[in-house]
């Protein structure tokens, strides 16, 4: 007659049950492991496909890059913070911005003699695209700004100066104080600025205006026009829109 409970038999039975459970547990774990392993394999394959598909997209599309950046920001990730980041490595995002940074430096160096180390974001974009050739992958203003911020972090003497409707990129270590920056912003509208305008718009003393203008002249960022009708005008080549006219300047 069966009786529950104690006794050698019960213990043995318990042990057997435990063993069976253990075995079952092991079997369970093995099952899970196998399943997980298969899932991982699938995941890895998908991931690789995702990576290669989007690597193209990363290089090709500014919209995708922007979208990607927003996604990362939403989960608190900066793919550019470290070149060794998982996503950065997987998708080659870091490469793209690194190469862009190099191109930006090349353009700024090439044009420095002309504009004293100041260039509008538009012109920079135009020149970078030109340098990328006929089958150029598109580069957006957002891309440029990100690449420049990365350059700033490396301490390369790059700066971004908002002026009116656009942004000036500074690529020389020239000291530009608040006064100078404000002058640049004032000059953005017409490409030049006068002492009277500075006095009227900014309420500066003549001396202060002259000092600031003197500095911009000295840095090669501004040129003097002494034949302007009312008073001398100070022009910035960086803001001179006809600087990059395709078929040369208009004639006499």
């Amino acid at each position: 007659m069966h009786r529950r409970g104690v006794g050698a038999g019960a213990i043995a039975r318990r042990k057997l049950t435990e063993a069976k459970y253990k075995e079952r547990g092991t079997v369970l774990a093995e099952d899970q492991l196998a399943q997980m392993s298969r899932q991982l394999e699938t995941f890895r394959t998908h991931l690789q496909a995702f990576a290669s598909r989007h690597k193209q997209e990363i290089r090709r599309s500014p919209e995708f890059r922007l979208h990607f950046q927003h996604m990362c920001a939403a989960i608190g990730v900066d793919p550019l913070a470290s070149g060794k980041g998982f996503w950065a490595e997987l998708l080659g995002v870091g490469d793209f911005y690194y190469e862009l940074g190099v191109q930006i430096i090349e353009v700024c160096l090439a044009l420095r003699h002309r504009n004293g180390g100041l260039i509008t974001l538009e012109e920079l974009q135009q020149q970078v695209l030109k340098g990328r050739g006929k089958f150029a992958q598109d580069v957006s203003a957002d891309d440029l700004l990100r690449a420049i911020r990365k350059l700033k972090v490396l301490g390369s003497g790059f700066g971004i100066i908002p002026v009116g409707g656009t942004v000036l990129v500074q690529s020389v270590p020239a000291e530009l104080s608040m006064d100078h920056t404000v002058l640049l912003q004032l000059a953005e509208k017409k490409g030049f600025v006068t002492v009277s305008e500075i006095r009227d718009s900014l309420n500066w003393e003549t001396e202060r205006a002259k000092q600031a203008l003197e500095h911009l002249l000295k840095e090669g960022m501004a040129w003097l026009d002494a034949q302007a009708p009312a008073e001398p005008q100070f022009w910035l080549p960086a803001l001179f829109s006809e600087l990059h006219a395709q078929d040369g300047a208009a004639g006499p």
Binding site: L217, G220, L224, D225, W235, F240, A250, G251
Partner: protein, 174 residues
């Protein structure tokens, strides 16, 4: 081929000699390059400084800016220093811009002479720059003043001798 003006030509400050030294150097370089290109395109003859004030090179009417007399003289002096300009009188009132230096012209002429096995031949100046044989050469149509300087340069190198012919001047190549 229509003349391509550089961006500086539309830039009002270009017509003011810049106070900043470095900027002025860049400005003068640009002016010299423009003067040479303009001189080549328009086959600029010898002229006086007064006349020069009004040619489109130095006077941009559309922009209402012209390079002032003193500044023109600075540009001319710069051209002279580079070997691209010669004063035709002691008072420096007349000048000739040579967009190629005489030595460069001389070299081209001598290259043509030796390539065609014409050393030890005599040419009239006319033949050299207006004859059919030189029609495709860069120096074809060269003005006499510049041609003479080119030949003088060759003469210095003992590669040519300017001689007097019955009806004018000529040159013998060695």
């Amino acid at each position: 081929m229509s003349f391509v003006w550089p961006w500086q030509y539309s830039f009002p400050p270009f017509f003011t000699l810049q106070p900043n030294g470095e900027t002025r150097q860049k400005q003068l370089s640009a002016w010299c390059a423009l003067a040479l290109a303009y001189s080549q395109q328009h086959r600029l003859p010898a002229m006086t400084v007064r006349e020069a004030q009004d040619i489109p090179l130095f006077a941009n009417h559309r922009l209402q800016r012209k390079l002032p007399l003193e500044s023109i003289q600075v540009v001319l002096e710069e051209l002279r220093k580079n070997g691209n300009l010669e004063w035709l009188d002691k008072n420096k009132t007349s000048f000739l811009i040579m967009w190629k230096r005489p030595e460069e012209w001389g070299k081209l002429i001598y290259q043509w002479v030796s390539k065609n096995g014409l050393t030890n031949s005599v040419f009239t100046l006319y033949e050299l720059v207006s004859g059919d044989d030189t029609e495709n050469e860069e120096f074809h149509g060269l003005d006499e003043a510049t041609l003479l300087r080119a030949l003088q340069a060759l003469q210095q190198e003992h590669k040519a001798e300017i001689i007097t012919l019955d009806d004018g001047r000529g040159v013998k190549f060695f």
